[in-house]
Assembly symmetry: C2
Homo-oligomer: 196 residues x 2
Amino acid sequence: MKEALRQFIDSFQFLTPEEVDIIVDNTVLKFTKKGEYLLKEGEVSKECFAVIKGCIREFVIKDGVEKTVSFFTEGDPITAFTSEITGCQSKSYIQCLEDCVVTVGNDSLIDEMIQRIPRLEKLIRVEVEKEAGKMQDRMSDFMISTPEERFVTLINNQPNLIHRVPQVLIASYIGVTPESYSRIKKRVFEKIKQHN
Amino acid sequence: MKEALRQFIDSFQFLTPEEVDIIVDNTVLKFTKKGEYLLKEGEVSKECFAVIKGCIREFVIKDGVEKTVSFFTEGDPITAFTSEITGCQSKSYIQCLEDCVVTVGNDSLIDEMIQRIPRLEKLIRVEVEKEAGKMQDRMSDFMISTPEERFVTLINNQPNLIHRVPQVLIASYIGVTPESYSRIKKRVFEKIKQHN
């Protein structure tokens, strides 16, 4: 698993081999079972994660119903920014949909790494800006899209998800009932077949 | 207007009076007219802004129709993160809905400020993380909400908006036709009246 971690850290192309070593040696890995939670509603988030192996979802319970708002797979960072920065309670759950391996970071570890590799401060800022950009794009894309368009975006951006997660969660994510989702999925796959 | 700018910079409570002076002296202000654009679809964003005075919206054109995805008022930062960081073309328009005053920043100005006030690097990172948190919260909130709930969130978070922007833009923002919006607005205001 250290090798997968090294590959992940190495994917940030601005790091020298020595810097990659320092980070890999200091990264804590967490092995979780399917169904386990990394964060629950009401808890204050003190850690941030990145997925090395596995699939994780974020959901909110509204009127007793689970609504899936995000999926995370290999390479994705997971941070509950507001809870972690302001210390307020999380409104959402983060749950493993498979047995997973994640890196676990926290403020003091990040501060320590920055002390050893000062230019990491700027590099982390740029990574957070990229994440903010992805969220911004996802938000405006979601706002202007129909459920069918959201489904097409999902299979374009995270094509392996559809085979990894229960279909009812994808329905919840694009904001339709499981029945509507079945119709949408059929229609989209028929269009894809016609194009190929 | 320098006084409004000083108040804005001063609202970041971690800065000393001397640091506020340095930033105020180096901040460029831009005065724009109602209808003017800060960014258009297809352009590469090289600047970031913060609203000192006025109201600004972000919108996307989809199938020939304008869809409003964000409103910004006094104190709000405006950054097209993805375009600015990756250099790709903006997918959205940023347009002033009133005569506005905004601060204008860019990478080299930020680098210069950090060179003069090194701890600004971390402080900016934390501010970007807060922004990312707001976007994350807004995204999951939007995903699980009905148009009526979105309207209630809007009047709770940005209460002055409803009197400042054309109602058709608010309808577009919460994702309904102007007709449905009229009904939603009436219903929500009746409920508020009953509660008071």
